[in-house]
């Protein structure tokens, strides 16, 4: 389109008119901005300068009280207690050394502590309070307050600190809280400002760490007027924070306490699970430690003692520890065999005490052998050769598949730290992990829960619960949050044939109640609590042919860490299963002699809801049981605490 000269001139005039109007509007906006700059930077500069220097009004955070943790009956497991402390501010103290020397006459302080405080004061700005003394008694706290005029810059403060009234019982499940470290902050994307407060505590392990967001609560704020030295003159406004959520876990404190006591000085773990809803009723790892030590800041020697202890008290053996499950694993190959149809409950294998495969001799635990054995007897007497034969027929992959179906080699998600996955080895696993082909010997070892197979006590309890119910029982640890119950899941059927499950259960029943049962000594007499179980003794060393020829060295003659692990899994009542228990005693010796009595006692305590009557035990053992109970140091259950506030 060709434009005439006149068109262009007109259009330019129009544009120019509008452009000038636009310029005027823009000039007005610039003038407004300039005016605003003038009022803010010239007229109101002093006011803003004062705010900037922090001379006037400051916003202070009020740390929220941490959420409480209760057991399934409302017993307090983690609460908050008042913590009295003293802080010092350099600006107000003038000469901190002099003030600290005076303070020393009121409360005990070591030279190193004073040096540490002085170093901290040097690092911080003049108006930042530095903690001088923590966890003061009420008398010390009061004496500092009374002597305030002689202690410029020192202010007595009270805060809340986490406390674990059940001490060691829940150390592994709940974990503990500790001061926020730079490392903690570096791992967070957008750290809550409340974490920057001195002395604020953060969950470091276990439930405390995994449910940190729920337990932490929301900070409140205080608007205070402060003078130029930073001292508060008055509080203008206070918005209370929100306490963290109250978490109720599925564990029963009394049962947990009994389990911890029953494991005693052993390096051991026990898990009790409700087979109907998956609730973990006890998860005990021994020996244990006092988490309160960590909250207060553990001393060097105490920490070293825990670290260097050969029974590893800091590790949670229930979910972190993995062990060769030994014969407690035998339900897995048995069910894999029955389900595959390659054997049936009546199929028999002959056990002469050993078998030879590919030129290697594999021994049954019974040197003399068990003769001709079928499914139920194979579990009752824990015949190894039966499983060697079975494993050669069904192969590794069927066993591994069944192990995973029963919960071994899979991670069970719980709010606890470092939950182990265990290993259900198959051909593909060995190729990926060791870059080697699977050997028939590997199958033979796996069939009796040795070799590459590893399971945690939690997984063994889940396996037992699944065999007992035929359902895909999954463990859970959180029962309710802030009073609202976490819904229970309806577990799916495992899809195993009922007849096969009945065979496995009959075998486990015979272990306890059969004439040749490997744990018959630990049977429960009370018919309404009839129990089924399986023992396991897993080797942690190789027995050479030469040693076998000389006679296998007895466990008691070996150093502790070379002895066999003792394992036991069980459930009861046999007809209508309620609870499943697993016990692992590291280097404890025989499963039947060491682990089975522990499992039986814990299971009985769960069934009876407290110490069971003595007539549940075989007559000959009642004296010993009474003696053992007298030695135990059981914590009486305190009255359930239902109100949410902390004890002051």
């Amino acid at each position: 389109m060709k434009k005439s000269a006149r068109d262009i001139t007109d259009s330019n005039r129009a544009i120019n008119r509008r452009a000038l109007m636009l310029g005027a509007v823009q000039a007005a906006v610039v003038a407004t901005l300039g005016w605003r700059l003038k009022t803010m930077q010239l007229d109101r500069a002093d006011e803003f300068r004062m705010l900037s220097d922090g001379n006037s009004i400051k916003l202070r955070l009020l740390p929220p009280a941490r959420g409480l943790i209760h057991d399934r009956n409302g017993v307090l497991l983690a609460g908050n207690e008042a913590n009295y402390r003293a802080t010092i501010t350099r600006e107000e103290a003038g000469d901190p050394e002099l003030v600290l020397a005076r303070l020393r006459q009121l409360i005990p302080m070591t030279d190193t502590a004073i040096e540490a405080v002085l170093a901290e004061i040097g690092k911080r700005s003049a108006i930042t309070p530095v903690v001088v003394a923590d966890r003061l008694s009420w008398e010390q706290f009061a004496s500092i307050a009374v002597n305030a005029p002689a202690l410029p810059g020192v202010s007595p403060e009270s805060g809340l600190s986490r406390s674990y009234p059940r001490a060691g019982d829940f150390a592994h499940v709940l974990g503990y809280v500790g001061p926020v470290s730079d490392y903690d902050l570096s791992r967070m994307e957008d750290p809550d400002p409340v974490l920057m407060l001195p002395e604020f505590q953060l969950g470091k392990l276990g439930v405390e760490a995994r449910l940190e967001e729920r337990l932490r609560g929301k900070a409140g704020t205080r608007r205070v007027e402060v003078n130029s030295a930073g001292r508060e003159m008055r509080e203008l406004e206070r918005i209370e924070g929100q306490q963290g959520e109250t978490v109720q876990i599925t564990i029963d404190a009394a049962l947990q306490n009994f389990a911890v006591q029953r494991l005693g000085e052993e390096s051991a773990a026990a898990v009790v699970i409700d087979v109907q809803n998956g609730d973990i009723l006890a998860s005990a790892s021994a020996p244990t430690f006092d988490p309160n030590l960590f909250v207060r800041g553990i001393s060097g020697p105490d920490y070293r003692a825990l670290m260097e202890h050969d029974h590893r008290p800091l590790a949670d053996k229930t979910v972190q520890g993995v062990y060769p499950p030994g014969s407690t694993f035998k339900m897995v190959p048995l069910l894999a065999g029955l389900e595959s149809g390659l054997i049936d409950a009546g199929s028999r294998f002959y056990c002469p005490g050993h078998t030879t495969v590919a030129g290697r001799r594999f021994h049954c635990w019974s040197r003399g052998g068990h003769g001709s054995v079928a499914a139920v007897a194979s579990l009752e007497r824990s015949c190894d050769v039966y499983y060697y034969e079975l494993a050669q027929r069904i192969g590794a992959d069927r066993m591994a598949e069944m192990a995973r179906r029963l919960g071994i080699g899979v991670r069970h998600e719980l709010p606890m730290s470092a939950i182990a996955e265990g290993i259900a080895p198959d051909r593909a696993w060995k190729r990926a992990r060791h870059d080697q082909e699977w050997q028939v010997g590997d199958s033979i070892n796996a069939s009796i829960g040795q070799g590459y197979v590893l399971a945690s006590p939690l997984q063994l309890a889940v396996m037992t619960a699944r065999v007992a119910t035929g359902r895909e029982v999954a463990p859970r640890l959180v029962r309710a949050v802030n009073g609202a119950a976490v819904p229970e899941t309806d577990f799916n059927d495992l899809g195993l044939r009922e007849a096969n499950l009945r065979t496995a259960r009959a075998g486990m029943d015979a272990v306890m109640n059969g004439s040749h049962g490997t744990a018959a000594r630990s049977r429960i007499l009370a018919p309404e609590w009839r129990m089924a179980g399986k023992t396991g003794t897993s080797q942690v060393r190789n027995i050479t042919a030469a040693e076998r020829a000389r006679g296998v060295i007895r466990n008691e003659q070996l150093p502790w860490n070379r002895r066999d692990h003792a394992l036991f899994v069980c459930y009861a009542p046999f007809d209508a299963p309620r609870y499943a228990v697993s016990v692992v005693v590291e280097h404890g010796g025989g499963g039947g002699t060491v682990a089975a009595p522990i499992g039986r006692d814990i299971l009985l305590f769960a069934l009876a809801g407290g110490l069971p009557p003595l007539d549940a035990y075989p007559a000959g053992q009642r004296g010993a049981i009474e003696e053992m109970r007298a030695r135990m140091n059981l914590t009486p259950a305190p009255a359930p605490q239902t109100n949410g506030r902390a004890r002051a």
């Binding site: 068109d7 544009i15 636009l22 901005l33 803010m40 010239l42 705010l51």
Partner: protein, 380 residues
């Protein structure tokens, strides 16, 4: 080739001689503003250049070279590619909505190999281009006829809708404002503007009324920004914190400021986004009223030069284009400064040429390259 012939006149410089006809004052003004940015980025990083200042300088040099290169292009070139540029931008915006990279809950970036592209930034310029070409083609007599008003309105609303879907309210508002500015300069009857402003006020009323109902019109976070704007004290630890702290920093600068690298608010990390959207507060704190009014004046001078260039340019397309780009630039700094001074809600607009950020800096400099091209090639 008709475009070429239109512009071919004896007075128009050719070849390397064009460099003498560049608007050198504009080049120096842009460099001065950018230099202020380097200084602040160096200061905010605590005296370290490698964090923000150096990358920004490198991009500035590249952008400057690009600007001068674009100044050599004949202006008719921009008119002939305007429609194509606009269509490409629409396609890019659709691509962002479909495959875009998520950042802070919004899709604004497009990953193309090594480059991360923010098409909404380029769209601002492309919209100005296409509207300038449209009004150049349309001629003055028809600009206010309803049908011929509807076309530019659609040209504005299509990209706006796509940007809003990202969702990016700030850029959508900028697009509408930039487009409206073009229509205003082109001479569209003022009655249209009166009607739109009137119904806009009605819409604002509806948005405020719809809050909490099930036909709520905007996101909750956008409502919170409005609350925060109206009363920054209402949420002193959340969003209002930014504004309160920014104003404290700005006001405490006083007459001459606390001195280079002495800003306590910025150094103590009280300021959010201190190297991007809130960089002006650091400048105001460290150089005071003198510093901030100087920067404002530099911006005003840039606008004044563009206005002068547009007024003296007899070519309608070139004038409209210059006014449009300058207007977009104006919207940037006015919105940013208004935001940090508490005159406007926080919409997340950078301070042009000063805030840290590659796409924005390069695109602005290239846009000024087009302004230079209009200036160099203007019929005299």
């Amino acid at each position: 080739m008709s475009g070429y012939l239109d512009y071919k006149s004896e007075q128009t410089p050719t070849g390397w001689r064009k460099i003498l006809y560049l608007s050198w004052p504009l080049v120096f003004l842009l460099a001065a503003v950018a230099a202020t940015g380097f200084l602040m980025l160096y200061s905010i990083a605590g005296g370290r250049a490698e964090i923000w200042a150096e990358p920004q300088m490198r991009r500035f040099v590249v952008g400057m070279v690009a600007m001068i290169a674009l100044a050599f292009t004949p202006i008719w070139f921009w008119r002939s590619i305007s429609v194509a540029a606009y269509v490409v931008c629409l396609l890019l915006l659709v691509a962002v909505d479909v495959f875009g990279h998520h950042a802070m809950g919004a899709q604004r970036w497009l990953d193309i190999g090594p480059v991360k592209l923010q098409p909404s930034e380029i769209t601002k310029i492309a919209l100005v281009l296409v509207l300038a070409a449209y009004y150049d083609w349309l001629g003055l007599s028809r600009v206010s006829r309803p049908l011929w008003v509807l076309i530019p309105v659609l040209l504005i609303l299509i990209p706006t809708g796509l940007v809003l879907a990202q969702p990016d309210l700030g850029t959508s508002v900028m697009l509408v404002a930039g487009g409206a500015l073009m229509m205003f300069v082109a001479g569209v009857s003022l009655w249209y503007f009166a009607v739109v402003i009137g119904s806009g006020a009605g819409l604002v009323f509806a948005v405020l009324k719809s809050r909490g109902t099930d036909w709520q019109l905007i996101h909750d976070y956008q409502y919170r920004r409005i609350d925060t704007f109206l009363d920054p004290g209402s949420d002193p630890l959340g969003a209002g914190y930014n504004i309160t702290q920014a104003q404290i920093a700005l006001g405490s600068g006083g007459w001459s400021g606390r001195g280079f690298m002495q800003g306590t608010q910025s150094r103590l990390n009280f300021l959010p986004e201190k190297h991007t959207d809130f960089i002006f507060t650091s400048l105001a704190e460290e150089f005071g009223f003198v510093g901030s009014i100087t920067l404002l004046s530099l911006y005003a001078l840039i606008i004044a030069f563009c206005l002068y260039s547009a007024l003296t340019n007899r070519d309608r397309f070139a004038s409209l284009l210059t006014l449009g780009i300058a207007g977009t630039f104006f919207l940037y700094f006015a919105v940013n400064m208004g935001m940090v001074m508490g005159l406007m809600p926080v919409v997340g607009a950078p301070l042009p040429l000063v805030s840290y950020g590659g796409t924005q800096l390069m695109i602005l400099l290239m846009a000024f390259g087009i302004v230079q091209s209009a200036h160099v090639n203007r019929p005299r």
